[in-house]
Amino acid sequence: MVNVTGLRLKNPTILAAGIMGTTGASLIRVAQQGAGAVVTKSIGPEPKDGHNNPSMVKLDFGYLNAMGLPNPSYEDFLPELKKAKQKSGVPVIASIFGSNEDEFRKVAQGLMSGKPDAFELNVSCPHAMGYGTSLGTDSKMVKAVTSAVCEVVNVPVWVKLTPNVTDIVAIGKAAEAGGADALVAINTVRGMAIDIHSGYPVLGNRFGGLSGDAIRPIAIKCVYDLYANMDIPIIGVGGISTWQHAVEMIMAGASAVQIGSGVYEGLNVFFNVSEGINNFLKEHGYKKTEEITGIAHERF
């Protein structure tokens, strides 16, 4: 049992936003496969088709994607959220986005009747103009958006940070000042690939976000820095597909981990990772995940 901002998770693995999270049925399936909690696809104020394909490609060392925040709008997503809440048996966190406080507030309010266990604010998508990163790199906006949502909801608010900033701790502090209950780090790292045969950028959107193995050391560093400087819990995400990765992230300072691209390896990734963490804890004489959260900070 892991407690994250009051949510009780049966294990510390959480489905990351934007991964198999477009429908209630899919979220339920992931929960049944072993995830301790699930985060929905980021939902916005209006329906969006997202960018043209190719919207995701697998590289040798990670993945590049530029989905462009496709989503059916909060109105159309509400039934999916309700379904997930009813049948998943695990906490369901609603990821939301907007281009300003008003939109964030509206989407959050619009989804409240679905009774999400928490909200995750996506202020960090690196490839949707006017959303995400353009907002998440500005401390003032992050604080404003966070407090706008905190004012209208009565469940914990997590804020998901982008690594594409000079100082992630400053953005984390802004979120905390806005009332965030936890931080989620990291969203994808801006990246790009070009097809040398044609000269075309591979993604429909030309550039996108890097995820998977390639970004794990970056995510570890972000979580490590946040843990050293923040009082609220950190949820670690980026490049986790094995229990060893998860333990590393937890030692850096994460209270729980999210798994995104790692789902490529199979949906049993949640079961395997949480079992692996459990065994590791047992072998080393620990009783719970909390005992190793941030221990890298004590090793000199």
């Binding site: 934007g18 198999m20 899919s26 399936r29 059916p72 044609s198 789902v263």
Partner: protein, 260 residues
Amino acid sequence: MIPINSKITKIVAETPSTRTFFFDYSFEYAGIGQFVMVWIRGVDEIPMALSYKNAITVQKVGDATSRLFEIEEGGFVGLRGPFGKGFTIPKKRENILLIAGGVGAAPLASLAEKAFSEYSYVTIILGARNVDELLFMNRFLQCGHVYITTDDGSAHRCGFVTDVLEELDVSVYDRIYICGPEMMMKKVFDILEKEQALDRAEFSLHRYFKCGIGICGACCMDETGLRVCKDGPVFNGKDLMDTEFGKYARDASGRKKWFL
């Protein structure tokens, strides 16, 4: 993998609306019924079943397919794949039935050939709008008995594949494979359900694909949550019971679009 740069070595006009594009790259280990993502640079990337190890057969329906039809022999596209789960290959001496509607014949023609070469007994129901649109008729004719139906009656009998199906004794077939427009497949599904043949049937589905590799969740089915791009596109009939199949699909944004 980033898309493999593939040269179009030959283009065959199969019917007025479909063309087969052969590539210099062959997916030797692809299972029959698996698909590739075809990148038409500057336009879009779209899923296509492999109609041969080294070819796709495309119906012109919109932006990307229209642009593809403008590319000539010697031109290039990018290919990622093969992805997804294909058909179960029938065993020797098994009696199989293929039901193909329109461009749904694309993956089934390879299956017919494979089954025939492995000594299965093959029966095909091939349907199309009209006689000119009957796809891969010659490939099917070489593999077994072919029933033909056209919506307008321009070849053999007028009607739908289901009309033929209803006249057949379904119980004699060890396996039944279906690919075509969803409403056609749904009608077949209903008949097979009644005949208690769903567990012997495999349907190849279409949904809107984004990633094509089972991550983004764009193609998930209600209520199972199965991903058409990864857990499918070929599903056993049983896995489609009480699902959205035949009722609705989702568009690029994830909103439901009801079949009429």
